[in-house]
């Protein structure tokens, strides 16, 4: 690893903060996407997408 000089702590915290926030954002988006896909599949399996007049 390169020497980041006397202000290394600011550089490390800046990159660490961005990395954690982006990892959390990606994780949240993927979990939300899978949760809704699963719910949609469950509703379609239950026949919610079929018309009430043509069961």
């Amino acid at each position: 690893m390169i020497d980041l000089g006397p202000h290394a702590v600011y550089i490390v915290w800046a990159y660490l903060g961005v990395a954690v926030a982006i990892a959390a954002l990606i994780g949240f988006k993927l979990v939300e996407s899978r949760r809704l896909s699963a719910r949609l599949a469950a509703l379609e399996t239950a026949g919610a997408d079929r018309s009430a007049t043509h069961p």
Partner: protein, 253 residues
């Protein structure tokens, strides 16, 4: 709609119909993830191993490689939302409000990161984490506008009605974007004036400008990927709400 008609659908229908949009744009996700990852690997390598330290700021210049891209996205995402708001108000485009809604939390995150990295860069460079100057204050106002937009979306059950109100609010808030851009010219500020896009060319050497551009492209690719995933999720959420409503009505009948 039969199969023959489906194959002849116009590009407008393919963009406007939520189901069609998800079907064709899903294929873009893998290339977008690969491009994002490759750009980040290259950008981080350039930022830490190929870029020299600045003659005045020393190694803290490396904070610029995460600060400038997040600051750029804080405004670019708002631009995407403003164009989508016009799509909602003028054409009632079904995917325009989906795009607006999916972009808002991403814009808020990138704006918060721009303020966070700016504070950490400001302390060793200017001697302070925060100063109420034009650029920082107008960026904080942008973050509050993003929070307001996210809250407005959650305040309405009827998402079509919410879309029109949010679209008007978004376009009114767009006045803040040129204020952020020109704040360094209009008021006394700790920020330097524009140093990349200038009539007389960038004031940075290529060894610093190259990693900066690669990181800007990496963050922009990340936004495009997450925005697309967010739009797919929002389409599914509306379908789920519609099916749950139908099930409830059937149960009540």
């Amino acid at each position: 709609m039969n199969v023959e008609n489906t194959s002849k659908q116009s590009w407008w229908t393919r963009i406007a119909h939520p189901g069609q949009f998800v079907a064709w744009s899903r294929r873009l996700l893998v290339p977008l993830w690969i491009a994002t990852a490759a750009l980040f690997v290259l950008g981080l390598w350039l930022a830490f191993f190929a870029s020299p330290e600045d003659y005045q700021m020393g190694d803290t210049v490396r904070i610029m490689y995460v600060h400038v891209p997040t600051a750029w996205l804080s405004q670019f995402v708002y631009g995407v939302m403003s164009v989508s708001a016009i799509g909602t108000l003028v054409w009632r485009h079904p995917m325009a409000d989906v795009s607006m809604k999916a972009a808002a939390p991403l814009g808020a995150t990138f704006t918060a990161l721009a303020l966070y990295t700016g504070a950490l860069w400001g302390r060793p460079t200017w001697g302070t984490f925060w100063e109420w100057d034009g650029r920082m204050t107008s960026t904080l106002v942008l973050l509050l506008i993003y929070f307001g937009i996210v809250a407005l979306w959650r305040a309405f059950d009827d998402q079509l009605r919410a879309a029109r109100i949010v679209a008007v609010f978004t376009l009114v808030g767009a006045v803040n974007i040129p204020i952020i851009k020109f704040s360094v010219d209009w008021w006394a500020t700790l920020h330097q004036p524009a140093s990349v896009f200038r009539l007389d060319g960038p004031t940075m050497p290529g060894s610093i400008l190259t990693p900066l551009f690669v990181m800007v492209f990496a963050f922009t690719a990340l936004f495009l990927t997450l925005h697309l995933i967010g739009m797919h999720t929002e389409v599914r959420r509306r379908r789920v709400m519609s099916l749950e409503r139908r099930l409830a009505q059937r149960g009540a009948a």
